[in-house]
């Protein structure tokens, strides 16, 4: 799977390189995050390259958020493109996770929370 996993001040940033997130790729989409998630780490999900997410992709993101919180970690979503933002608005995703305009803002917010 095409993705970038980087770290900044102890915060992991996953940037999927996929244009579409749907039932075809959700089973492996968040596999790289498993060790960080199990350790209760802090995560930013950078969606700047994703142009389309359907309900199956949304379900996977919601599942990731749930798992991170259950393990005592923190997560923020950043940089959604307009079409993806439309989906998040429709289902009120912001009621369960913070959504930032860019990754820098997400990192900064997580760093503040930790302090």
């Amino acid at each position: 799977m095409d993705y970038e996993l980087t770290e900044s001040n102890g915060i992991s940033v996953l940037k999927p390189g996929l244009r579409t997130v749907d039932q075809n790729n959700v089973p492996v989409l968040f596999e790289p995050l498993r060790p960080i998630l199990e350790a209760g780490g802090r995560i930013v999900l950078d969606l700047s390259k994703v142009q389309f997410i359907n309900s199956a992709g949304l379900g996977a993101i919601v599942g990731l958020i749930r798992d991170v919180e259950q393990k005592g970690g923190q997560i923020r979503v950043s940089s959604p493109l307009p079409t993806v933002k439309a989906l998040f608005n429709m289902v009120h995703l912001s009621s369960i996770v913070a959504i930032d305009e860019d990754t820098a803002a997400a990192l900064s917010a997580l760093a503040r929370n930790n302090g």
Partner: protein, 554 residues
């Protein structure tokens, strides 16, 4: 005794046991107590109904003689002064004639008689064989003159009520100025039933670019129902009159219906009545319709381009069920040559032989097979076919409005297209094709807001995925997707064959419970102004998604 009790439905069931033991079967019927209790006269006569063997004194009760008077002499028909010989012959058929009822059977009829001193009376006569006494029949006579007269008076009153209701209906409930339209041709039919049940209809223009069709039905019959129909119609027009509106525009359907509900519902609740109605607005430039359906029967929509029919049905309850409901308006596109049939349940539920109904599917078949007829002729044809189908005329008011869509002049530009997609498990390839096609269309002629366009594409892809998952019943199948953007309205229709699925129920949000699936229907309802499922012949279905685009790209 028990046999006789079974034969006579109103045979008195309480009999002193001592008397019963003492009396023989023939004696039992001579007991005048029976006659007194049953307010008639029991007697035993021969098969021909001429010779009276016992109980002749009971005739005195029927003949109005003082109690204790000697029994009337002579033959039974003479004693009763039977005027209707034919009815009498049917009650006591000549032995061996072969044409009368079975000898062992109960026979009954009402016979007009001229009883001395009492004038013409209507005597109810029942007779049946006396068990163990061949050639003898037990007869029960009862004077039902007053009952018959009451029935006649009631019928006269009902007839006057029906006449007045019919006049009221013709004058107020179904009248309306004819509305001229450059693209719509229509005709109305209103056929009151024998007792008039308060149907109302109207066609009106509230703004330069739309025509409103209203058709409703009040529960109950006669003057009460007709008056309630008038109350609803007046309430609706009064609401319209006081509604504020911008110059040249009509109040929204939802506003009209909310105002009408506010005015009418207290009346309906107070009278424990309900009313159903269909309010459809046809936009002449946009070529789409909007409707609110208060529990009314479906609207038949014939589509000329595909020679197909579908039933358009909303999701709201009749007026008067509850004080207030959050009703929904639905949108759907139409095209040149299309036909709408709006009707009351007096037509669709018109009973025929063998417990069958005329039915919505028959109306669809008539609309399709006679789609070329002018609306006036189609209305008349539906009324005629319904009447021929019924066993004894219409039991309910029949109201119909047929609307045909003519060729628009001048042509309005539109973006339209279609894809015939094969849906297999997951519908991944089909979804991708649809997504690309709709993205291109919306980029060209969609909303000026790309976020809104993205949501619309997503909603359509979700609709397709849900058809693949739920609509096709777990099988592979084809889905014809047709889209159109015209006059600020995006419509996307998904035509497929499959079992029923509840597309209209908008689910609660799953997000708060962190659910990992079940967002598709929620996305459809969030992105679209209207999600409507129409049923066609057999298991044909059309899912119609519509969205108004107030900021459309030029």
């Amino acid at each position: 005794m028990k046999t006789l009790q079974r034969l006579f439905r109103h045979w008195p069931g309480t009999m002193d046991e001592r008397k019963r033991q003492k009396q023989s079967q023939s004696c039992v019927v001579e007991e005048s107590a029976f006659s007194i209790i049953a307010q008639g006269a029991f007697l035993v006569c021969d098969d021909s109904g001429q010779a009276v063997f016992s109980g002749a004194e009971n005739l005195a009760i029927v003949a109005g003689l003082p109690r204790g008077s000697p029994g009337l002499s002579g033959s039974l028909p003479d004693a009763l002064g039977v005027l209707d010989a034919e009815a009498w012959a049917a009650l006591f058929p000549v032995s061996g004639s072969g044409s009368g009822p079975e000898k062992g059977s109960l026979r009954e009829d009402t016979v007009s008689c001229r009883i001395p001193g009492k004038g013409t009376r209507f005597i109810r006569i029942r007779n049946a064989p006396v068990p163990g006494s061949p050639g003898r029949r037990l007869v029960f006579l009862k004077d039902e003159t007053e009952l018959s007269e009451s029935r006649e008076r009631l019928a006269r009153a009902q007839s006057m009520d029906a006449d007045a209701s019919a006049r009221l209906q013709a004058a107020v409930l179904v009248n309306g100025e004819h509305v001229d339209s450059p693209v719509l041709e229509y005709a109305c039919s209103a056929m009151p039933s024998k007792l008039v049940d308060g149907d109302f209809l109207d066609v009106m223009r509230l703004a330069p670019d739309c025509v409103d069709v209203l058709l409703g039905d009040v529960m109950g019959k006669g003057m009460d129902a007709a008056i309630m129909g008038v109350v609803i119609k007046v309430g609706l027009f009064r609401s319209l009159a006081v509604m504020s509106r911008a110059e040249g525009s009509a109040p929204s359907l939802r506003d009209i219906c909310a105002a009408t509900e506010r005015v009418i519902t207290p009346h309906l609740l107070a009278r424990r009545s309900i009313a159903t109605f269909s309010y459809m607005r046809l936009y002449e430039t946009g070529f789409f319709a909007e409707f609110v359906d208060f529990g009314h029967t479906s609207i038949v929509h014939y589509r000329k381009a595909t020679d197909s029919c579908r039933l358009i049905k909303g999701a709201d309850m009749p007026l008067g069920f509850v004080e207030k409901q959050a009703f929904r308006s639905f949108l759907f596109p139409y095209r040149e040559g299309d036909l709408f049939v709006v009707f009351s349940d007096g037509l669709s539920e018109c009973p025929g032989q063998g417990g069958t109904y005329f039915g919505e599917e028959r109306i669809m078949r008539v609309a399709r097979s006679r789609a070329g007829l002018p609306p006036r002729e189609l209305c008349d044809t539906l009324v005629r076919l319904g009447f021929e189908f019924s066993e004894s005329g219409f039991a309910d008011d029949v109201s119909i409005v047929c609307v045909r869509v003519l060729k628009p002049e001048p042509m309005v530009s539109e973006q339209a297209g279609s894809l015939n997609l094969l849906l297999r498990q997951g519908a991944v390839h089909a979804s991708d094709k649809l997504r690309k096609a709709l993205t291109k269309v919306l980029d060209t002629a969609g909303s000026t807001d790309p976020v809104e366009n993205g949501g619309l594409v997503l909603a359509c892809v979700e609709a397709l995925s849900n058809i693949a998952e739920h609509g096709l019943g777990g099988l592979s199948g084809h889905c014809l997707v047709e889209w159109r953007i015209r006059s600020g309205l995006l419509s996307v229709e998904f035509n497929y064959k499959g079992p029923d699925f509840d597309w209209l129920a908008r689910p609660q949000s799953h997000i708060e419970s962190y659910a990992s699936r079940g967002y598709g229907i929620e996305i459809m309802h969030s992105a679209m102004d209207s999600v409507l499922l129409c049923k066609g012949f057999g298991n044909e279905k059309t899912l119609v998604l519509c969205r108004r685009l107030p900021c459309q790209k030029k």
